[in-house]
Symmetry: C2
Subunit: 332 residues, 2 copies
Amino acid sequence: MNITALAGGIGGARFLVGLLHHLSVRRDKYAGAKVTVVGNTADDITLYGLRVCPDLDTVMYTLGGGIHDEQGWGRAHETFTVREEFAAYEVAPDWFTLGDRDIATHIVRTQMLRSGWSLTDVTAALCARWEPGVTLLPMSNEPVETHVVINDPDSAESSDGKRAIHFQEWWVRLQASVPAQEFVFLGADQAKPAPGVLEAISDCDAVLLPPSNPVVSIGAILQVPGVADAIRTTAAPVVGVSPIISGAPVRGMADACLRAIGVQTNAQSVAAHYGARLGGGLLDGWLVDEQDASLAASPGMVTRARPLLMIDTETSAAIAGAALDLAVEIKA
Amino acid sequence: MNITALAGGIGGARFLVGLLHHLSVRRDKYAGAKVTVVGNTADDITLYGLRVCPDLDTVMYTLGGGIHDEQGWGRAHETFTVREEFAAYEVAPDWFTLGDRDIATHIVRTQMLRSGWSLTDVTAALCARWEPGVTLLPMSNEPVETHVVINDPDSAESSDGKRAIHFQEWWVRLQASVPAQEFVFLGADQAKPAPGVLEAISDCDAVLLPPSNPVVSIGAILQVPGVADAIRTTAAPVVGVSPIISGAPVRGMADACLRAIGVQTNAQSVAAHYGARLGGGLLDGWLVDEQDASLAASPGMVTRARPLLMIDTETSAAIAGAALDLAVEIKA
């Protein structure tokens, strides 16, 4: 069985841990199953001259056993000597925390990119160390950068009181406290899906949309020309897992993102945003939390309610298993 | 009084510590004295995509109070997390030790260079933090790289059994254990002295050649077109301090370098290698260790014998003071 998942950072990574655990426990049923992950790269940023790919690294570290578990991002047993030195040199920005172990990854990546390697090949090389148990593909080898349009009446840079900032500045520095007016995926229209991305979606047995941010994670991947079409037209069933439980995001600040695109923060509205494949959208199946079982079913897709809180590997595995079961049921 | 010194790494840096200490203790005599240091950049190397300037950094860290004292290079209170990660990624080379604090310097430098800053300006910016008490100038803003020609009968890359390797590979990885056949200063013929270098030599009251390696440190600086001529023609007295005591280098492997260029490892031969300005060479004065007092004086230069072992700041200061005194005596 070939499974393809789209993924952002923490939510996607934890879902994937559950998926691999489920495939391993149920190897009677899924012997030889392979998972391909299409990772969001629109959060990527160049800091201190180093190329940082937060979502790819979160997936890689999490599945490779190197993640800081409680935090959900960054490395376990991390040290911060380089950051101390940056502060002593007074180099900006000081709002993005990079640990020494993490920086080593970015140095290796940056060197390879500058030597002409594609991000696909760099990611494969880094994964050779981490052995994440999946094939991790960047969504594109061309730069796509999510920028956030905010109101900034004091900005000297604009006449209309609006200003676009890098997603990370909005997310990390401002903690999404300033309302996003709009998301702009710079470069997306020129980007091509990375090698293997469209094939992974077209030639698989199930496409899964984990509970990642539907706007800036999954949403960014869908901006790459061809990706949404591949999902619409694949022969495989497409099943999504709601990142919203009882009207609130499980983690992160998805509500602030949904608000900007005019989507209400509830499982039903996110499903409608993705849309049913029957109606030209993306989903055949949709998992919602059991607290949301009473919401009206989303037209055109098979909706199932079950506990969606990913507390540990077991609960994540149960969710991934339910998503797989739903895909198999839809295909049958 | 304006003093200009050429400098390599450890030996030069320790001499400069002594010089600044002497100027401070004798501020009655040297009030307002300024020191300009022309640093060797031919040992520079790009590792992991980061530009490393070992000699500039050794001078900067030493005078700025950040050096690892016993070691003489690298940072005090250093950590090695990034190196651990490089090893885990199996990225080469593994023979050049970079600590986390040191790497931060290289990241900042590399980012600035890639943004279009000259090495002169980058060095000034880094020194804004370290306040070394001198104006530290790279010898050139163009890349000059010392390569070492060695015999390597097994080399697949050459037909004559010779191979050129980067100086750092010979010095650090091979510990100069393979005889150098020749030093090649790649790029030197195309290099221009960095802004301020020729002026610092021409318009000063004393030029000092500290006990740095006469072949690959001072010698490399002299390869930059115009530098040797500026020393030959400056109105200031030029005084050198022998890096060789009693037929052996005080530290480092200067003997292995001298051998390659056919110069014997003794104070007299190094003086003859530099040559007397009276005979078209570089030196007016030459300090040798008191153990070498019985050697024949070098023709055309004023030679003084005194203890030259730099054990601590006091002894270094005494040596620097003696060099200055000799310069003043020659000028008078």
